[in-house]
Homo-oligomer: 198 residues x 2
């Protein structure tokens, strides 16, 4: 039997190198050669793990969604509901350096989504997952009778979802104008605005 390399671990390492190159030089300069160099591999070796650049990009984008998903699932959901919702939603915000990299990569791939069928499918799936999570949050707020009366729940789902992604995008593109703190406070402000006066 030959040398054994944990296939999936290696793929993840390569995907992270892909993130680095994309963040540093942009998607259009993320050639297989640069990514291989970033991962300290030869092109041939990289190709052994990813038969094509398309596969590599798809996996790299998938890794972002997986990381976010695992973080959300790994949370302890006990405590005041509003706090919990704020925390859960913060997982799709670029609140620290790691998340910022992930969100930046996600944004870049999202743009590519418009002309790449494979990425488009992944993008849609993740979008629907987040949408479902937000629906759950609004529903739960309602069940707990925290929600203001006379709110349009469907509209609130769309609004919260758009707000989250808008805040994330703004902070990534204009971190000095929409600061980390403003991003978080605005989310909190919005959640509070949904709830009844105490």
């Amino acid at each position: 039997m030959p040398k054994i390399v944990n296939h999936n671990e290696r793929k993840i390492k390569i995907a992270e190198s892909t993130w680095n190159v994309i963040v540093r030089e942009g998607l259009e300069n993320a050639s297989v050669r640069k990514i291989a160099a970033e991962a300290n591999l030869s092109v041939g070796s990289l190709r052994h793990y990813f038969p094509s650049q398309s596969d590599l990009f798809l996996f790299s984008m998938e890794l972002v969604s997986e990381r976010v998903r695992k973080r959300i699932e790994g949370k302890n959901y006990d405590g005041p509901p509003l706090e919990m919702f704020q925390e859960a939603l913060s997982e799709v915000l670029p609140i620290d350096e790691d998340r910022k990299i992930e969100m930046e990569v996600w944004l870049v791939f999202s743009a590519k989504t418009l002309v790449d069928r494979r990425l488009e499918e992944l993008s849609k799936n993740v979008f629907i997952q987040i949408r479902t999570g937000i629906e759950k949050i609004i529903n739960t707020l309602d069940s707990l009778e925290l929600l203001k009366e006379n709110v349009d729940q469907h509209a609130e789902v769309i609004r919260l979802h758009a707000l989250i992604d808008g805040l994330a995008t703004h902070h990534i593109l204009h971190p000095n104008t929409v600061t980390n703190k403003e991003m978080i406070l605005t989310l909190r402000y919005h959640l509070l605005s949904l709830c009844r006066e105490v």
Copy 2:
């Protein structure tokens, strides 16, 4: 004197061809050759108007912002204030096919902004212009005593701005999940939520 071509008109035509190629095949496939072909020009001829691809891309992105700006400035601002604000804000939403193309191009260039200094500057300038416009809207709502009491005006500016761009992005990336109508209705819903009960 030689053949005279309206320089700026020609540049605009080329920039629109650039949009087409970007929408159809993506930014990474928007080579000067493809753009020249789309514009029915030779590469050498295109180069006569744009010395480099970078110049072409910058001009093409600028054209988007100029189109939007002119549309906003060209509006008649008489009528119920809320209607007017909705209309003005709708100019940065992809509410029809033309605007959809523009916003899609803007989104793609925005991603490139992260690794392109020239585009970054333009992006920031436009962002601040829109931000300023939104501040004006919130301020005016307050002056007219339409605004709910006890609202945090600074937070409302950030929130509305993020909401607009979030809605636009969602509709461009997932038009079937966030429909045109939902986008518009959600904006209206939000604006109404800012205002006092009648």
